[in-house]
């Protein structure tokens, strides 16, 4: 992501304008946005000086709770969670901001998604689950517990993304083979190199769940 048009050294506004236009249309179609006093994004006259957005208030359904946020059309779900909500939910991490690393993985409508690539306005009213939604340090989910038992973490910065992705993977394919798991988790990077222990954790959950089913 470059901050300026390299050839002129000037800020480039064109791509922003078109990006925002698209975002507004999405929002309008959903019918969720109420324009605030600041108004919906106006036609931009001078791209060099205008801020290309207004704010909108909307309701996000995060971990089963309705949370009001004031966002701009361009605000990503990731930023809505981490910096717009009060109190913020900082478990979801930002690492690349461009959909390459998976640190920001959440569930939207039960499906794993990169929250850095999802606009907050498109998530209004749809259930969002973040890592905090699966459990807390005193009451962890089975996946979170397995990550602790198998040491599926080192620095832990990628761990929230992996926990959410592992939950999603095991829900989608409870009997996933190791190769299938690798595929399911291939959207997440870990620089410390915890992968082998993450696989161990996932396998432990599979075993536990299978045992639970047999017992039923």
């Amino acid at each position: 992501m470059r901050e300026m048009d390299p050839s002129s050294g000037e800020p480039s506004a064109i791509s922003r304008r078109s990006f925002l236009k698209g975002a507004t249309q999405v929002a309008a179609a959903g019918g969720i946005i109420q324009a605030t006093a600041a108004g919906a994004p106006a036609e931009v006259v001078d791209p060099e000086v205008e801020t290309l957005s207004g704010t909108s208030s909307l309701e996000l359904l995060v971990n089963g709770k309705a949370r009001s946020v004031e966002v701009q059309p361009r605000t990503t779900l990731l930023h809505a969670l981490r910096t717009h909500m009060d109190p913020p939910l900082t478990g979801t991490k930002e690492v690349c901001g461009t959909g390459s690393c998976g640190a920001c993985t959440v569930l939207i409508d039960g499906q794993p998604a990169y929250s850095c690539l999802s606009l907050a306005v498109t998530c209004a009213g749809r259930p969002v689950t973040t890592v905090e939604g699966f459990g807390s340090a005193d009451a962890m989910s089975d996946v979170q517990q397995a990550f602790c038992d198998k040491d599926g973490m080192m620095c832990g910065f990628c761990t929230p993304g992996f926990v959410v992705a592992t939950h999603a993977a095991l829900d989608r394919s409870p009997k996933a083979s190791l190769d299938e798991l690798k595929y399911e988790l291939s959207g997440n990077f870990c620089r410390c190199g915890t992968y082998p222990h993450v696989f161990d954790a996932a396998a432990a959950v599979q075993e536990d769940r299978a045992r639970g089913e047999e017992g039923r």
């Binding site: 060099e48 991490k93 901001g97 461009t98 807390s136 040491d151 620095c155 620089r191 082998p196």
Partner: protein, 726 residues
């Protein structure tokens, strides 16, 4: 508070017999696992303070330019913008793409406003020739980019060792000689948490609080003292959790200084984390190199002569590369000659990165060993054993060879051939490290209610340091790990070391042990009248203390602590005899090469690593795996790429700078070398990252005869090596 460190000590601390250990040398789940797995752990990235400003820096997109103007007017009038400052004046030069390319800093009420303001800064600059590659730096008449004032070229002074004539004579007499030139690209640390700080200002008589993603909680106050115009003791640094460092986070850097300055100027807390693209441009890297290595051997495989001519590529820094022969020995030392110099480019200076210089040296040396073995028809493992001094390496090589199936492998002294375009090979590599230990302190406090705190100003980079801060005390006092509260990541705690060069465990673990031992003896002194046995004759186990040899005379932990009238403070310090200085490792890799497409798939990696007494086997296996994963990533995928024409850094995010993900993972086996029975502890993070990529390159060679001399081992690299340039 009573301090037991005042009293005479009955005995010296010791790690004890391994068979007697209840907590250490076992799998200990990390104590901060639950907060990390649930997102509750607060990293610097996550700190939110009332009234906090969001700051960003503007990095010039190309390495060399002359600034004509930086216009802040529009930016400073934008909504929410509180602070804008240009760091360069008209006429100033941007000399390299690194901290010198930071043109401005802005701070605003929201992150978006800060980003908008950054985009609104108008910069006019005249671009100069980029000098981003060593070839450009070495061209006749190339602009001098070295930071040394008197520099008149981009080449540093060569470090020459040994007598070339002696080496040449030895090589002339060798039965087999190989000579190759190796090209090793620049690698990035890619800490998932970028560099950055949150600075909360304070009145002069109070402490400024700085949250820092750092490997040096203790050193950061000194690093910010000048910027903040106050004594280091008036700066408190907190690092409750940090998202990776790998050698790149030793000091506050320009970004820390800027955060401190904006906080100081505005009187408000400031959050300044680099963006990912900033991080790639200005937050350091592992230096690359170009090495021409010539090695000769006798018919029995023993190395007899070696010459190395190497350039280190560390941007505006010198880079690192240990002198040859790397780990292996040459029959007569005097037959080794080397010339190592730095070639400077106008790019970010290299920083320490997990075993600085070693993976680079390993790549060339292991290749030479492989090739000589093949020339002489000697088994690859046998060839290594003949040229390695340490028995530890010998046994570790045999162990990894067995684990990877070397005995059944069909071609052990010559490369194989592809069948139907598919070839399987195995390769090896070894490592060493001398982590050492230094002065460090720890306080253990036991309260009358039975609670225990173990505190030291170390930091947990993901190594599991926080866990052994508790576990060592738990072992000594016969308690469960979760009964000890570990306090780390705070510069106000008893000082410990900067985490670099694997020194943390060797430094802080002995201090923790010493404190725990003193605490135990402090309690035993109280028991003399109660259980009627002298200090030193008690057994602490399962939350009970009993007199050795008479389990009927015992007390539960809570009752012991109830004897305290005030908290017992035991102050521990680094004890030389509790730490170990030298470690070894061996690794093996098995690959499959598709000789039609050039694709390499790593099938399996095995590592065997010693480290004295393993404190936490689970965390240790994590680190050994982590070393293999990073080495695989380095070998197979990573390289920094510049646009040579204009000087843009092309690989500035994770879509274009690839690191290994789940699908690249082979089967991995992390073996702890339990034949190492040294009664002492030491860090080991560096060693396992050293030889993995060399073993993979060796495996590719063993599979199909292609000796890759360039990294990464991409398909085109394999095809070009097999069939020549197309």
């Amino acid at each position: 508070m009573s301090s037991s460190s005042r009293g005479a000590q009955a005995s010296e601390p010791s790690w004890g017999k391994r068979s007697d250990l209840d907590v250490l040398n076992r799998d200990i789940p990390r104590v901060d696992g639950p907060v990390k797995a649930t997102g509750e752990a607060i990293y610097t990235h996550d700190v939110r303070l009332p009234g906090m400003l969001w700051a960003r820096v503007l990095v010039h997109p190309v390495p060399r330019a002359e600034i004509e103007s930086i216009d802040l007017e529009v930016a400073s009038e934008m909504p929410g913008v509180v602070y804008v400052e240009a760091l360069k004046e008209p006429g100033d030069a941007v000399r390299y793409l690194g901290d010198d390319a930071v043109l401005a800093v802005v701070a605003a009420e929201t992150p978006d406003q800060a980003a908008d303001a950054l985009r609104a800064i108008k910069v006019k600059a005249r671009r100069l020739a980029p000098v981003v590659t060593p070839a450009q730096a070495l061209e006749d008449g190339a602009p001098v980019v070295s930071r040394r004032r008197d520099a008149d070229s981009n080449v540093g002074r060569a470090n020459e060792r040994g007598d070339e004539a002696v080496a040449d004579a030895a090589l002339a007499g060798a039965v087999a000689v190989v000579e190759r030139t190796f090209e090793i690209p620049i690698q990035h640390h890619v800490c998932l948490e970028t560099h950055g700080h949150v600075v909360q200002p304070a009145p002069d008589d109070e402490q400024v609080t700085v949250y820092a993603s750092t490997q040096s909680v203790g050193g950061t106050p000194r690093g910010l003292a000048r910027t903040l115009g106050r004594d280091a003791s008036k700066i408190r640094v907190l690092t409750p959790h940090m998202g990776g460092g790998f050698g790149s986070k030793f000091g506050p850097g320009l970004e820390g200084a800027m955060a401190a300055r904006v906080a100081d100027q505005t009187g408000r807390p400031v959050h300044l984390m680099l963006t990912r693209s900033d991080e790639f441009a200005i937050a350091g890297n592992r230096s690359g190199s170009r090495q021409t290595l010539k090695v000769g051997a006798r018919s029995d495989g023993r190395l007899v002569g070696l010459k190395l001519d190497a350039d280190k590529h560390g941007g505006v820094s010198g880079g690192s590369l240990p002198g040859p022969p790397y780990i292996y020995t040459v029959a007569d030392d005097s037959a080794v000659a080397s010339r190592i110099r730095s070639v400077f480019t106008a790019t970010d200076g290299s920083r320490a990165m997990r075993a600085p210089g070693h993976p680079q040296a390993s790549f060339a040396m292991e290749a030479a060993v492989d090739e000589l073995a093949y020339l002489l028809g000697i088994d690859l493992v046998e060839m290594r054993i003949r040229n390695l001094d340490s028995e530890v390496h010998h046994r570790q090589l045999r162990r990894v060879a067995e684990e990877i199936g070397w005995g059944e492998h069909p071609h052990r002294d010559r490369p194989g051939r592809a069948e139907n375009g598919r070839a399987v090979g195995i390769g090896f590599g070894v490592s060493v490290w001398g982590p050492g230990g230094r002065s460090s302190r720890c306080d253990v406090t036991i309260r009358p209610d039975g609670s225990v705190v173990s505190a030291t100003a170390t930091q947990d980079l993901g190594t599991g340091a926080r866990t052994y801060v508790a576990a060592i005390v738990a072992e000594e006092l016969g308690l469960a790990v979760n009964m000890i509260e570990a306090r780390i990541g705070d510069s106000d705690l008893p000082p410990s070391v900067t985490s670099g060069g694997s020194v943390t465990t060797g430094s802080s673990a002995p201090a923790i042990k010493d404190a725990a031992h003193k605490a135990r003896e402090g309690l035993e002194a109280l028991l003399v009248d109660v259980l009627e046995a002298p200090v030193g004759s008690y057994v602490w186990r399962n939350g009970q203390v009993s007199v050795r040899g008479d389990s009927t005379r015992s007390l539960p932990w809570i009752a012991v602590c109830a004897l305290l009238r005030e908290p017992l403070l035991a102050q521990g310090e680094f004890r030389d005899f509790l730490h170990e200085g030298r470690i070894h490792g061996a690794q093996a890799a098995k690959v499959e090469v598709d000789t039609l497409t050039g694709r390499v798939k790593v099938l399996k990696m095995v590592a065997c690593q010693d480290q004295g007494l393993p404190l936490n086997r689970l965390a240790l296996r994590s680190q050994i795996n982590g070393g293999m994963v990073q080495a695989l990533s380095y070998g197979m995928l990573e390289q920094r790429v510049f646009d040579e024409q204009d000087g843009f850094l092309l690989s500035d995010n994770l879509d274009l700078y690839k690191i290994a993900g789940a699908q690249e993972m082979p089967e991995m086996v992390a073996l702890i070398d339990d034949e190492d029975e040294r009664p002492s502890v030491c860090g080991m993070a560096e060693a396992p990252v050293i030889p993995g990529h060399s073993a993979i390159a060796g495996a590719i060679h063993n599979a199909c005869g292609a000796r890759l001399t360039r990294m990464p081992f991409t398909a085109d690299n394999v095809l070009e090596t097999l069939y020549g340039k197309i």
